[in-house]
Symmetry: C2
Subunit: 637 residues, 2 copies
């Protein structure tokens, strides 16, 4: 098949209009209806008005425990001259009991004096008092709810009361999802080949369909083979309202999809002026809408949300729920690409009175950005990017995440993740962390864009950690420096140390591929400091300019033979089963800005750091010394 290098570049709004218009022409919008049993109607949507089949109560019912009487026979009762009713003049009734037609009022039991088989009363009854009339709750033929109404517990209960056994509801739209790509595998195996990718997009889209009220039928992965794809399509189309192909990430696999659509249906769009999501495919096949979703997870999520969500709600006769929008300042300069609508996924947190949006890693392949994201910022085509601090509109992806969020920006250490887990489970505090290195953490604190930062900054002059940096960069505001742990740094090398690396000297050997940490990270500063102590030039190290952002990422590179050595903490080496050559012990502290937190949050943080559970987690990880964990090392007012 011919390789199509340049796909089109349809503006998003134009593509949406064009696609939705063609879909309407195929008669897509007429919602299908089905009858379900009332007890299975929970969570469904009524297709039309629902009418009661019977009245409730269906008889005159007592609203109290007491006696049924004829009101006229009680007219003269009062404190001074009570009236006594004989056995045929009243009837004992419980709440809900039938009030027979010869009676027309109920006197509550507290006002009745039983004497043998008679009763004595001292107050007249008003006609029809404490008698629930027929249909007080529901009258047969009443419209209980209109159409397009979501059925919850109360609706189901009233249907039961109203004598309904079944109810007509909107049929759930069916989405056929066909994952395609020769590089895809159904699940991760021990010995996956380089180039193989675990197919997860179809399952993500299935989850979204469930949120949106649709059902999914998923085809097993189809390799990039024209005939097999045609067979899969032919099999899936008849039962579906919407056909979705999850392409692999390569252009080749998209080309198959686009080509097939051209042959079997109508290709409307191949290529959108959006980012991520550019290689999207839109069309019609067998009079049904077709969406070809790009292979990168974030692209897939975005394209599916833009194009499938409105259709699936429309098919159910429902308005598309409008997610909440929040105004925020963006934490850092965010460039946008010329000529595309750009979607930037962000974390959101409130710091004092400001709502701040923190852009997440913008790689479209980063599934975890979807896990982390609280919202999306759209940078429209033709608009420049955002300057740091500029105001933007954030469309929320989840609800109520702004409550009790603490933001940690700074150095990466697994202990920050343990802290987040424990704060969430035991204190209901959400700790969002971004790894930008210790120096980046200080910058964020100085700008009051974080509540805390993990730092381990060696002062080459004094050999001390952190304090001199804080005095230099955070002199303008109160802070608190709390020790998290002392930890070991060392060289991580492959199991068995095949290259015989014993120390820094070996990194200068030509065949040793090093991987470095990013500039501004405490580990990088430590490394440079060690080099300068030995008067060695970093340019002689193969890989000095190659950067990773976390200890585990460095360890993974060593493990997977992307390099031979890197500097990092013992816990990461151990997690990846690598050999480890200790180089230094350093002080890992967190610096807090108490003015940005309330007392409860501050206490929760320090108490959690001191807690046995937290210490046990670090002990198990290995390489930490906890003598001073949770101790306040210094403070500044």
């Amino acid at each position: 098949m011919k390789r199509k290098i340049y796909i089109e570049n349809h503006p998003m709004d134009e593509a949406r209009e064009n696609f939705f218009h063609r879909v309407q022409e195929t008669g897509f919008s007429s919602a299908a209806v089905e009858k379900v049993r009332v007890l299975e109607a929970y969570g469904r949507i009524s297709s039309g008005p629902v009418f009661a089949r019977r009245s409730s109560p269906h008889y005159s019912a007592s609203a109290m425990d007491g006696i049924a009487v004829k009101a006229r026979e009680t007219e003269l009762a009062n404190d001074l001259s009570p009236i006594t009713l004989g056995p045929d003049q009243f009837l004992e009734v419980d709440t809900g009991d039938y009030v027979p037609r010869q009676f027309d009022a109920v006197i509550m039991i507290e006002d009745v004096n039983f004497i043998d088989n008679c009763v004595r009363i001292i107050k007249p009854a008003v006609p029809w008092q404490h008698v629930r009339s027929v249909g007080e709750d529901l009258v047969a033929h009443d419209m209980i709810i209109p159409g397009a109404y979501p059925l919850g517990p109360y609706e189901v209960a009233s249907f039961i009361t109203a004598g309904l056994e079944t109810v007509s509801v909107i049929k759930r739209p069916v989405v056929a999802i066909i994952p395609t790509g020769s590089e895809l595998v159904e699940k991760a195996e021990e010995n996956m080949q380089p180039g193989q990718i675990v197919e997860s997009n179809s399952h993500m889209l299935a989850g979204l369909c469930q949120q949106w009220g649709a059902e999914v039928i998923r085809h097993p992965i189809v390799p990039d083979d024209r005939e097999l794809l045609k067979t899969a399509l032919a099999e899936m189309i008849p039962g579906a309202d919407l056909i979705v192909m999850c392409s692999g990430s390569s252009a080749g696999s998209e080309d198959y999809t686009a080509g097939l659509l051209e042959e079997m249906g109508e290709l409307l769009v191949h290529g959108l002026a959006i980012r991520p999501g550019k290689p999207a495919i839109l069309g019609i096949i067998a009079d049904k809408p077709f969406i070809g979703v790009p292979g990168y997870p974030i692209s897939a999520q975005l394209v599916f949300t833009l194009f499938a969500k409105p259709l699936l709600y429309q098919k159910q006769g429902l308005p598309v729920p409008q997610p909440r929008e929040v105004e925020a300042c963006i934490s850092r300069k965010t460039a946008s690409h010329m000529g595309v609508d750009e979607f930037v996924y962000v974390n959101l947190a409130r710091i004092k009175d400001r709502c701040i949006a923190y852009p997440l890693n913008r790689g479209a392949g980063i599934t975890t950005s979807l896990v982390k994201a609280d919202g999306v910022v759209l940078l429209p085509r033709g608009q420049e990017g955002l300057m740091a601090g500029e105001t933007c509109q954030v469309t929320m992806l989840h609800e109520d995440l702004l409550q009790d969020t603490l933001v940690a920006i700074g150095s990466h250490d697994p202990s920050i993740d343990f802290l987040a887990d424990q704060l969430r489970r035991t204190r209901r505090i959400r700790l969002v962390s971004t790894n930008v290195g210790s120096m980046g953490g200080l910058v964020a604190l100085a700008r009051q864009e974080a509540h805390l930062a993990g730092i381990h900054l060696l002062d080459p002059e004094s050999g001390e950690y952190n304090l001199s940096y804080l005095n230099r960069y955070l002199s303008q505001q109160p802070w608190l420096l709390v020790n998290l742990a002392y930890r070991e740094q060392g060289l991580m090398v492959k199991k068995g140390n095949p290259l015989g690396i014993r120390g820094l000297d070996d990194l200068f050997r030509e065949e040793v591929r090093f991987i470095n940490r990013q500039k501004g990270s405490g580990t990088r500063i430590l490394f440079d400091c060690l080099l300068s102590q030995q008067n060695r030039s970093s340019s002689d190290i193969n890989g000095y300019t190659r950067e990773e952002y976390t200890h585990l990422a460095v360890a993974a590179s060593v493990k997977n033979d992307a390099c031979d050595a890197g500097l990092g903490i013992y816990a990461s080496a151990r997690a990846m089963d690598l050999d480890y050559i200790p180089i230094a012990e350093e002080t890992y502290d967190i610096c807090l800005l108490p003015d940005l937190m309330d007392e409860k949050q501050l206490d929760a943080l320090i108490e959690t750091i001191k807690s046995p559970e937290f210490r046990n987690n670090l002990c198990r990880a290995g390489g930490y010394r906890l003598d001073e964990s949770g101790q306040i090392r210094a403070s500044h007012a």
Copy 2:
């Protein structure tokens, strides 16, 4: 069993504290954990942090379609002197392909010139450009999410990518529900006896449990029999985290429940100082929390929400979601009862800039009030009720119902329900209607507490409808009078007319039991007008003082032999299969306040009234003349 007339009266807060405290003591809060397959984890809550088992990508991967190269070999390329790479100096790669270890950069295909089996390039590659490093998305041993985290589509997708097959989640709490009461039946049958009640509470509570993340096991209805109840309890307790008994509404059935709890466990509370919900029962049985829920649906909903919801969230290690609160003015005087915390269910709507809360029928037996309610107002013990117009806090029961709501207060006609259905389905406008009669509608309009009112007010002087009333009561503001239909009013009598009723005269016969409509309703005014034309005294009519609020309710009373005749519209007589003696034709209009609506709403209303679907619905109902439906009969600026 001894009848216990006076149950206790525990203040709500005290009861909650006492109950929750005892429940904690039984060790209730420790959340149970289970492993589920990742593909079934959607919607669950992580029990602890989840770590990646593999890195993704697990190899150096191309981020583009293009060629993999050694960066060093491209260093000198530029526009003027392109570099040609031979077949062993590059490798064609698609996005996601493996970049073998001899290469360290990827050049995108758009920048490559293929010439025979060589490539020509005009730009140098920066080392590691367009190469996704191992673990760029996820690194093995990374904490993907902390504990107590809801698992959605993105979490599931990243678990798959991270090589997980199962994940530990919070076990769903199990609620055992035992409906009990000899008067209860499982479902409505054709020939239900007076006194029988269809059991729906257990299904309502089951729906609430589902909302709150719990599972339900439901026992079939148990009659009021001590031994049978004991057997049912013994059967249900072992598998449950919380035991709930849905009592029938009578004191007798509660007494069984309370007595059994005293015998088999610990009775903490029988009787709460709340309304509705007073006869609630709280206790401990077999070290598990026990809630005895009253028989009236609203009482059941309230007690279950107050006492079961916090426990079920706590059991899952989750915070209890706090429903949104809205400030509103109450539309009418709302009395509260001495010494109880009183919960008033309300509709909510925004009219211009005011948010108004409309109290619903306060009968605890009215299931439909739960269907209709948008929120709840708490009138705390010791506080007086609310004056009309007073500000109150409304706790929302649903979300986003304030958008595009129109409020109709006035006369009841089925056409208002049809209007509501059609506006909702086709225009996404919610029409909330309250039946208080035509005069009540005018009062609401005069106070700007409704957007529209259905009215049919006969002026006895002129014989004309509506206009003279509007001129008298609504002279201060602009209004629009739109005809809905002309409709027949007549006497509804039993099928076959056993009492031989032919006209108003027959209502004065002693054996004929009449049922009237409420004061201020157009039908009542019509009836009084007809009586005065004949110079007859209403006090000679048996049942003149007995009132119902809708045509259908009157028809149901006739149908169920609660009376013999009532005045109403043909549609109701026909729906109930009653005989009908036409008496008069009247003008049924709606009066709109255009200043309170936007143009879109106004158009939607009038267009809907004129639409064929609306007319067809009225035609099918019968008794309407539609010559002028949708026509503006008069207006006032």
